[in-house]
Structures are given as structure tokens and as C-alpha cells.
Amino acid sequence: MNWKFTSLALVTLGLLSWGLYAALVGAPTEATMGDVQRIFYYHVPSAWTAFLCFFANFVASILYLAKRNPKTDAFAVTTAEMGVVFCTIVLITGPLWAKPVWGIWWTWDARLTSTLVLWLIYVSYLVLRRYSGNNPVLAAALAVFGAVDVLFVYMSIRWFRTQHPAPVIGGGEGSGIDPVMWHALLINFAAFLALAALVIAVRYRLERLRQQVEEAHAMKAIQDSPASVARSSR
């Protein structure tokens, strides 16, 4: 373990603890929803982190399609997995917030449906990677479609007025939150970003090791093939 990784791990741990304190204790209780609104401090930063992971996956996929470098492919699969992890959290914490506030777990409105579609696209991406003979080109092409849905998810509450609330941040006139709530939100966003960076670093190293093992297996298979044995015996 090098010092950079250890430092990032310590910073992440500090930010996560600070974020948890800010969300549960530091931030004021929201007037209408009460304490359940504190889900916001995990739900929204998880969504932002998922979007960033999917954007990183999009960039890496484009680079892979252009250059066919296995390093960018490893980075793409790593960011897709991390994005799916955060998107899963969004899809579970959302209904847990919706039930006490809206009275329903789920509704097929534009934001919720497009987020579910986004999750399904990236789960398909990962399934495609695992069960189709690890086809990175096809998966990279699918990732480009996923990136389009990221834009749609982001814009959906600006384009459609449905069950999901309008954006409280960057939503134009009348939007906005208490500065202390902002503070708690940003700390948790920084904490989740740091956690994502840390896990991506670990997972990327694993993916590179896997690629190297696969290469070694392929080389060994070539060396052991009958044609290769015949050539060497001549």
C-alpha cells in the first residue's frame, strides 16, 4: 500500500464520518417532512456520484473504441460497476424516502423511470461483459447509449413536472436550500466522491490483474497448441 492510497483512505474515512455527523446532527430538521428528509444527504450525493461514474465510463468507452487500449477498458468496467453501486443506492433510498412523504413506494414518472432504465442499461453492460465472452467493443457501444440516458435523467425534472420534486439546486428562481443543508450535502458529496475514487483505484488494479492473467492463459494455450508443439519439434 503506497502513501497516496493510505492518505486517500484516511481522507475518505474522515469525510464520511463528518458527512454522517452533518447529515444526522448538524443539518436542521426540515419543516414539512421532518427527520426523514435527511435521506436527501445520501440520496442526492449518491445520484451525483453515479452520474460522474457513468460519465467517466462514457469517456473511457469512447477512448477504448478509438484506441483499443486495455487500460481504458479496465477503467470503463470499473467506473460502470461503481456507477451501478451508487445508482442502486439511489433506487433504494428514493422509495424509502417516497413512502413516508408521498404515501407510495414508486411511481412511473419521468425521473424515476429514466433512473431505473439507466440502472438497467449499466447492469446489462456488466452482464454483457461477464457472459458474452467479455466483449468490450459491444459493451463500449452500449455505454454510449447509457450516457445519453444520464443526460435525460438529469434533465427529466426540468422538462417534465411530475411526482418527483423540481430541482432544489440549480433549478432557477425559487429553488435553493438552507446554507447549513448545503454544507451537509456538499460534505457528503465530497465523501462519496472520495469513496468512489478509492474503490475505483482498488477495483481498477484488480481488473488489470485479471487482464494480465487472461493474457498469460492465452499465451500458454498458444504455446501448448499442437501446431506450436510441431513447429518447435522441427
Binding site: 435521506i39 440520496h43 443506492i89 433504494i92 424516502w97 485479471r210
Partner: protein, 39 residues
């Protein structure tokens, strides 16, 4: 409050399970590397 605690618990459970999965991946790759070296 139970919904709030459930949301926070689920968040950490998902991260924990994912990290567990990555750890298992490392163990599997380490085993494969050892096997390759033996051959």
C-alpha cells in the same frame, strides 16, 4: 425515523457487499496467478 435509518443502513450494506465482492475477486485472481506459476 425507521425509513431514515433503513436508508442509511442500506447505503452502507451495499457498499460493504460490493467491497466484499472486490476482495473475493482479489483472492480468486491471486489463486489463478499461483496456479499459472505452478504450471
Amino acid at each position: 425515523m425507521k425509513f431514515l435509518y433503513a436508508a442509511y443502513f442500506v447505503t452502507w450494506a451495499i457498499h460493504f457487499l460490493y467491497l466484499l465482492n472486490v476482495t473475493r475477486g482479489y483472492k480468486k485472481v491471486a489463486e489463478e496467478i499461483r496456479e499459472l506459476e505452478r504450471k
